[in-house]
Amino acid sequence: MRNILQRLFLPKSMLGMALLGLMPMSAMAGDTLSSGDTAWMLTATALVLFMTIPGLSLFYAGMVRSKNVLSVMMQCFAITCLMSVIWAVYGYSLAFGGDGAMTGGFAKAFLAGIGVDTLSGSIPETVFMTFQMTFAIITPALIVGAFAERMKFSAMLLFMGIWVSIVYAPICHWVWGGGWLGQFGILDFAGGTVVHINAGIAGLVTALVLGRRKGYPETMMAPHNVTLTVAGAGMLWVGWFGFNAGSELAADGTAGMAMAVTQVATAAAALGWMFAEWMRHGKPSALGIASGAVAGLVAITPASGSVGPMGALAIGAVAGVGCFLGATSLKRALGYDDSLDAFGVHGIGGIIGALLTGVFSATTLGGSGLADGHDTIMSQVIAQGIGVLVTVVYCAVATFIILKVVDAVVGLRVTEEEEGQGLDLSSHDERGYILQ
């Protein structure tokens, strides 16, 4: 027995000594690896990637006309690949590479200094980096919903590459990476501003700049396969546990509460949309309940680290009804063609969630407490408002500029004939369905 133990432990301790010597300088003094936290974060990362491929991919695919089904999936998949590379090469550094007010700098470009044993808190920095990568993937992918069925693929790639660099990474840095918005004590646990308002506003601007699809709104452009959409919504729901609970970066009580409030808010929002639609139109729809669920997921995102279950119930209910109105009445009234309601659900849901986070984080309303420096709900809500405003303005302006540049370089939109034929054939020489 003793011999066996010696054989097991002696080599390990020698290995440990060797590794200590190899440990990169960027590991902070006092960081210890927690295998529990790491195991959860590895899982959460996979869950968030699952949200994009295939969750969001299917959610959107089902909502377009069949002649465009592949184009949407292709866009989501291509964005996944492109953002992964950009993030690894310089995106992660821009967002998290340092403490500058505006950006994180290029110190961690090419993931320099991040080795096998480099830690970020209690988890390997590789895991933190990849986890954040999945956020940098889904945010641009969400925008696809606004320009579906009419954007040129090359323009989309170019736009997304620039957008993640100039809009996503900086805002991510400002809110989470040590940038200037940190001083305001804004509560954004998992990305209400960074992900959803960002994507929603970019979506709105893109929809406006690109213009409406030919034939909109008189022509029937019904979803060709709501079954895909509902399946995708389910995948988004499950994956979102990685998105919200994973944002704690640890396997602890806060993560547990984040999961619980995510579930409650989503359910409340789905019911909210469903009942609102039932009252307005006389029948509840599958597309409606699925959309309501996503609205709830979006709204609870910034709140998931600081509100309680009853606060989540309220946030979900408001978001469900609010996004229902945003994706229906508001869109029809203003006439913009946000094809798959990127703004209606993510923009509006994100704004609702960000503001209500300021309300329901208060301990008096079941939350875990307002941010440092805020003693009243009003003060916190104002901070939330600042976060929303900065995101909206910066994103809108930058997105507009990027679109104009891309338009000048390659042209944003496919031709009328290509649009009529369907992007699957005209952009990709493929059919989504070859049914016999």
Binding site: P217, M220, A222, P223, E277, R280, H281, K283, S285, L287, G288, S291, F324, A327, T328, S329, K331, R332, D341
Partner: protein
């Protein structure tokens, strides 16, 4: 020889096929079609956008028959396909010039 085409409600296809079988009609072709007559369309709702759908799914059933069976076939199809509600469909009768069985080369009455 006659070619009888009937546009019927899709869920009536089995009834029509069985009834035709009972009176000795062997071959039937069916196609999925869309159509409307005086039956109004219905509305479908997607994220608050209501669409009025005029074209309704129907099935077209075609049979090639001897002229002597015509009245019997018309009555059989109509009885099997009728629900009494609007949208039951229509039956069209055309003269059939020639029929050929591909496998054997038989023509005319032998091919029906």
């Amino acid at each position: 020889m006659k070619l009888v085409s009937a546009i019927i409600k899709p869920y009536k296809l089995d009834d029509v096929r069985e009834s035709l079988s009972e009176i000795g009609v062997q071959g039937v072709t069916s196609t999925e079609v869309k159509g409307f007559g005086r039956q109004k369309g219905h509305t479908e709702l997607y994220r608050g956008a209501e669409y009025v759908v005029d074209f309704l799914p129907k099935v077209k059933v075609e049979v090639a028959i001897q002229e002597s069976m015509l009245d019997q076939v018309l009555e059989t199809i109509a009885n099997a396909a009728r629900t009494g509600k609007i949208g039951d469909g229509k039956i069209f009768v055309q003269s059939l010039e020639q029929v050929i069985r591909i496998r054997t080369g038989e023509t005319g009455a032998d091919a029906i």
